[in-house]
């Protein structure tokens, strides 16, 4: 299906699946509420016309001005050869999306990454522990108010954004009290 046909099809199935839609650069995006996240994903996976069988990726985009984090899931259908971006917006504080790992197994790791890098809770996830970061890591690195380590150590006059070094609490450090060294540590 073409991007527009895809959006029209979803609107026909359930109007609440498409709160807003956009086709940019030949790719369809739909925005929906987190309540419909699983229902829409199930339809995209099971429907014979959609048949989104390849789980490409899931990630977030931080929008501090709206105080929201946008969760983006990109799906591709090998059978039908079309793409879709399924998106939702959740609050930066305490926002959550339900897990898709029951529909696509690939969602498991992608959701763990989303949770640790953006601080979006994934409800119903079977094993929501840190994936890339050490267990004791504090803060959510891909949020805009998390400073790059280099900016934190030394202010760089060439670029103000994402803010002067003193404006945010010192995140991303492993508390020395926990007695762990940086890295995954553990018993290897």
């Amino acid at each position: 299906m073409t991007p527009d046909e895809l959006v029209a099809h979803l609107q026909e199935v359930d109007a609440s699946f498409v709160e807003r839609s956009e086709t940019a650069f030949g790719q369809a995006s739909i925005w929906l509420s987190p309540d419909k996240w699983v229902a829409c994903a199930t339809h995209l996976h099971d429907c014979g016309r959609c048949r989104f069988d390849l789980f490409t990726f899931m990630s977030g985009v931080d929008w501090p001005e709206q105080n929201e984090i946008e969760v983006v899931t990109h799906l591709y259908s090998v059978r039908r050869q079309h793409h879709i971006n399924m998106r939702t917006r959740v609050a930066r504080d305490g926002g959550s999306v339900p897990t898709l790992s029951g529909i696509w197994r690939g969602a498991n790791w992608q959701e763990r990454e989303l949770a640790e890098l953006y601080g979006v809770d994934v409800t119903g996830h079977p094993h929501l522990v840190k994936l890339l970061l050490p267990e004791a890591f504090e803060g959510y690195p891909l949020r805009k108010d998390f400073l790059l380590m280099t900016r934190e150590v030394k202010d760089w006059e060439g670029r103000e954004e994402p803010g002067p070094p003193d404006s945010s609490p010192r995140l991303g450090r492993i508390p020395s009290s926990s007695g762990q060294t940086p890295g995954k540590g553990g018993e290897h």
Partner: protein, 383 residues
């Protein structure tokens, strides 16, 4: 005293229910040679058989996605060279293509053909590495030396044009950094013949090797449906019988103007994965041969390029078929010269996430045969 030979007449009583072995947890890695970097796999064993496997990643997490938000597009191209260091050109190509797509830039045909040439040479460079190292992991020393012999020649060729051996940084938004040096195409033509001839050595050493076959056929089979479920792409997906290759299904560059096959396997086992990798080199050589005759004269970068590259506001996902699978970038731009968000969808990440499915049920001695055939680069997993 036992009558007869040693062991004869010994009474060994094995009762089914009481004879339970204790589960054992074993750490493979993070410094194991077969992991091509630092990947740790925690496996639970029942005797010799693996009952559960959990990869532990993140030892090489360098925060590329965060770093990309504080770099302009020219710098991002240099940055993405480094996540999958074995296919640096394929990575930078993806970034150049997505920014060009958002800006609506027309790339000169000469630059597009040269990009294809480089992308395919880089693919061969990557595959040769895995071709050699997989043999090494299974105890064959020679393929590794052979692979590096060929890799050296190809690296010298690419260095002549790009100036780099590992991180080429040859793409620019809109085209390329430099034109090809004099005599490059003749050298490239010779090298195609050489590599094709020497590929037969690998076939003789490994594909036709009885020990190699015994160790890989039927070991670690991955069904195509499960592969897609995990987002597995590239040679591993092809080996499972799914011929999804974006060079074919959604041609970028001029892949629709060349003739090539997407090799697939039937069983999705370790042997098929290796065989697909081998045959992909042959297809890449075929593409390179066709490109040689098609590169037109002309500029390699549009004459009128803005001094600072700014992608217009919006977001899009663009994928390329990189050496190890689908390498895509999801770029969110606010119209600034820095990306607002750049998600790197790397093939190795999704491919490694499938390991908990693949390992349970196999024996410990087969572990390396399976793990080595899930071709991945740890930098590409952790980013």
């Amino acid at each position: 005293m036992f009558p007869g030979g040693p062991g004869e007449g010994m009474e060994v009583v094995v009762s089914g229910a009481d004879f339970a072995t204790e589960e054992m947890v074993l750490n493979i890695g993070p410094q194991h040679p077969s992991t091509h970097g630092v990947l740790r796999v925690v496996i639970t064993l029942d005797g010799e058989r693996i009952t559960a496997a959990e990869p532990v990643i993140g030892y090489m997490h360098r925060g590329f996605e965060k770093l990309a938000e504080a770099r302009d597009y020219r710098q991002v191209i240099a940055l993405v060279n480094r996540h999958d260091w074995l296919s640096a050109f394929g990575n930078e190509l993806g970034v150049a293509l997505i920014v060009e797509k958002m800006m609506g830039l027309e790339v000169p045909p000469r630059a597009t053909w040269i990009r294809m040439l480089m992308a395919e040479w880089n693919r061969i460079l990557n595959h040769l590495m895995f071709l050699g190292s997989y043999g090494l992991e299974l105890g064959a020393m020679t393929p590794m030396f052979y692979a590096f012999r060929e890799r050296e020649e190809i690296q010298a060729l690419m260095e002549a044009a790009t100036g780099g051996r590992l991180h080429f940084t040859y793409c620019r938004v809109g085209g390329l950094k430099d034109d090809l040096p004099k005599g490059f195409l003749q050298h490239s033509e010779k090298l195609v013949k050489l590599v094709r001839h020497r590929l037969l050595d690998y076939a003789g050493l490994l594909l036709g090797n009885e020990i190699f076959k015994k160790r890989t056929i039927g070991v670690g089979a991955l069904p195509g449906d499960v592969a897609k479920d995990y987002g597995v792409t590239g040679p591993i997906l092809h080996a499972s019988g799914v011929a999804e290759d974006s060079r074919r299904t959604e041609p970028y560059l001029f892949y629709d103007q060349v003739d090539f096959d997407v090799p697939t396997g039937a069983n999705g086992d370790s042997f098929d994965r290796f065989n697909v990798l081998y045959r992909r080199i042959e297809e890449s050589l075929k593409i390179i041969e066709q490109v040689h005759g098609k590169i037109p004269a002309g500029p390699i970068i549009p004459g009128k390029m803005p001094k600072t590259i700014k992608a217009p506001e919006g977001s899009v996902y663009l994928r390329t078929e990189n050496s190890l699978g689908e390498c895509g970038y999801f770029l969110v731009s606010t119209g600034d010269k820095y990306p607002w968000r750049m998600k790197m969808r790397t093939p190795s990440f999704s491919n490694v996430s499938m390991i908990p499915y693949l390992l349970p049920g196999i024996l410990v001695p087969d572990l390396i045969a399976v793990l080595g055939s899930v071709f991945f680069v740890v930098g590409d997993v952790d980013r």
